[in-house]
């Protein structure tokens, strides 16, 4: 007679759990070893680990702030100012890049030869050069090459363009902010254009034909029939582009915009708390990214096919 109960080693359910346990254990061991190593090295250098420094006075200035800030405020307040500056670029950037990306993506499929090819040139140039280079280009070759503020160029009577940035009637955008925003917008927009184009092309030909046979005008065909279906394909990679844009705001320091990474750098420099500051930055970007992911996933759910 054979024993019908297999040995535990041959039970797939056992392995499923055991392997995961081992993996978790190994990961924990690695974290403990790394932590011990960090502690030992810090102790050797006579440096203590802790976040008390956040309550100390920051003593440095920040060029652009949306909320009130002075050098006598704490490091944690300075970091808030930096975070808000980062968010300001990220939110404005996501908004603008979506418009540019979708427009360029649709224009890529235009029947008009000129429009189609101009957008192709835009997409290929911006997609295929490094972002840092583009930011420096926007900053030095575009904004800092404008005339000094005394002889600013006036556009339509109410926008002033000079080395001091874009002067709108109700507020002024600094050249650092403008260069960063435009750099990120056009760079990410080129990727989004390709995503949108791919999404539109993924919609079955029959849908176009069906929409046209209903007598819809070309604009309405796109708006009512094609684009909503393309969104199902577009949203997931679009989320990645939003995440990229948000994380890429950390290049701000290259062109002098005071984002959170800049504030953290100065904090690190003045306090010497390298590990703590890096941990804080990682946590911040992680939180931002996860928030965007969650929001986009919720949005994604609303555009998916509802199977009834």
């Amino acid at each position: 007679m054979t024993n019908l109960k297999p040995s535990i080693w041959r039970d797939v359910r056992f392995w499923r759990i055991a392997l995961q346990l081992v993996a978790v254990l190994l990961a924990a061991v690695v974290v403990v070893i790394l932590w011990g190593n960090l502690q030992r090295n810090l102790r050797q250098l006579g440096i203590s680990f802790g976040f008390d420094f956040l309550k100390q006075q920051a003593s440095f200035d920040i060029g652009e702030t949306l909320i009130s800030y002075k050098p006598t405020d704490t490091y944690s307040h300075a970091l808030w100012v930096g975070l808000i500056n980062s968010l300001r670029v990220a939110i404005a950037g996501i908004f603008l890049t979506t418009i540019i990306g979708i427009s360029a993506g649709i224009a890529r499929l235009s029947d008009n030869w000129l429009v189609r090819n101009i957008t192709m040139v835009y997409v290929e140039i911006f997609r295929n050069t490094p972002l840092l280079l583009q930011l420096l280009f926007w900053y030095f070759a575009v904004f800092l090459s404008f005339p000094r503020t005394e002889n600013k160029i006036s556009l339509w009577g109410f926008i002033g363009v000079s080395q001091n940035g874009l002067e709108l009637p109700w507020f002024t955008l600094s050249p650092e902010f403008s260069a960063l925003l435009l750099g990120l917008t056009f760079y990410t927009g080129a990727f989004i254009a390709e995503i949108v184009r791919g999404g539109i092309q993924s919609v079955a030909k029959g849908q176009w034909e069906a929409a046209r046979s209903l007598g819809l005008k070309p604009g309405l065909v796109m708006r009512l029939v094609i684009f909503p279906q393309a969104l199902r394909v577009i949203i997931p990679p679009l989320t990645s582009q939003y995440l990229n844009l948000t994380k890429n705001t950390s290049l701000a320091i290259a062109i002098g915009y005071p984002d959170i990474y800049f504030v953290a750098s100065t904090t690190f420099n003045q306090t010497g708390k390298a590990v703590e500051v890096i941990l804080l930055i990682m946590l911040t970007y992680l939180t931002l990214s996860l928030t965007i992911s969650v929001v986009m996933n919720l949005f994604n759910r609303t555009v998916q096919i509802k199977e009834r």
Partner: protein, 359 residues
């Protein structure tokens, strides 16, 4: 199902192994650039490591003419560079036994803490908090500096007060950012700092006219001023907004290594005081003056006490020269910088340089 469980299990394993490799790398503190000698374990055996490596790894800026700069021939020169060369001369009787690594102002302390470089000779200001919370051990000051502001001549800016509501270019990762904020706060002047990470971008932005002023150590302004598009159009304001004693630094933890660096710097000063130069050091070895004999190692065993050879000072002077020679070669009247010695004169001539006795 089984497959996915396996993948789930293996993925962290691979990560764990990769992380372990990284970890063992960290304990040995070899965060070196590929193809170069790994630097020493953090602090405990740095001294032995440098000796067995036969080379000092020296962190410099590489961007500041007169202090550390890579010339067109690919060679490093400058006063910071010469300090490292002097250390190599003392240790190995060969001033070229140095590997230079360019560090920006933000990464410099981490590079020293993690042992990527043995010594930081990179126009670094000696401050209390860097001594304590950053864990540095400073050698004597090699250059007494002060922070200043450079503006365009035609801008009508004559003093700090004229900079009200103007943009000032600053480089991050240095003491300048905080000094500027302190001074402006003290005087109640509002201004707009435009802060960059890269020194080249900072000066380029100023040159493009975005900023009305630029602040840095006076020596750095003079030095970088020489490579601006139109050097003669700029002027440095007379107001000095802080004192910046620039000194080499090593990581805390190896007193022997710290002592050696300290006394190498003092040797440069002492040699000038005694009038010994790279030209006449040969004649001085025959001197009967006990002070000079002890200094050059022909009498007593001061050098051995440091873990060096007794003639370490003689080696330094032979290869690198005394402080005056180093200064003149890099910053003196024959150079583009033409910085007056000012505070960086011997104490006996009204300056601040003073060496404790060699005995």
């Amino acid at each position: 199902m089984r497959n996915s469980a396996l993948i789930l299990a293996i993925a962290p394993l691979v990560f764990a192994i990769a992380a372990c490799g990284e970890n063992s790398g960290q304990t040995a503190n070899t965060s070196g650039t590929p193809g170069s000698n790994p630097a020493a374990p953090a602090t405990r055996n740095r001294w032995d490591n440098i000796k067995s490596r036969g080379q000092v790894i020296c962190g410099v800026s590489g961007e500041v003419p007169g202090f550390s700069f890579v010339g067109t021939d690919g060679k490093y020169s400058g006063i910071d560079v010469d300090v490292c060369r002097a250390i190599a001369a003392a240790l190995f009787d060969n001033p070229d036994a140095v590997e230079f690594r360019n560090l920006n102002s933000k990464e410099r302390f981490t590079a020293l803490q993690t042992g990527e470089v043995d010594i930081l000779s990179r126009n670094t200001t000696w401050t209390l908090s860097r001594d304590t919370s950053v864990g540095l051990e400073f050698a004597p000051v090699v250059f007494y500096d002060g922070q200043a502001i450079m503006v365009r001549k035609n801008s009508n800016i004559k003093s700090l007060a004229d900079l009200k509501d103007k943009a000032i270019c600053v480089q991050t990762g240095t003491t300048t950012e905080q000094n500027l904020a302190d001074q402006m706060r003290k005087r109640g002047i509002t201004y707009k700092p435009v802060v960059f990470e890269d020194v080249n971008v900072t000066f380029a932005t100023y040159a493009q006219g975005r900023c009305d002023g630029i602040t840095a150590d006076r020596s750095a302004l003079v030095s970088r001023g020489t490579i601006l598009p139109k050097p003669e159009d700029n002027v440095i304001l007379n107001e000095v907004i802080s004192s910046e004693p620039l000194a080499p630094a090593v990581a805390k933890g190896d007193a022997r290594w710290g002592d050696a660096v300290k006394w190498v710097v003092y040797s440069l000063v002492k040699a000038e005081e005694l009038g010994i130069t790279s030209q006449n050091v040969g004649q001085f070895t025959a001197s009967t003056d006990p002070d000079i004999k002890r200094f050059l190692g022909t009498e007593g065993n001061l050098g051995e006490g440091l873990g060096l050879t007794n003639d370490f000072a003689a080696r330094i002077i032979k290869h690198v020269g005394n402080y005056a020679e180093v200064y003149d070669r890099n910053l003196g009247p024959k150079t583009k910088l033409n910085l007056a010695r000012g505070q960086n004169q011997l104490w006996s001539k009204g300056g601040l340089l003073y060496s404790p006795p060699f005995r």
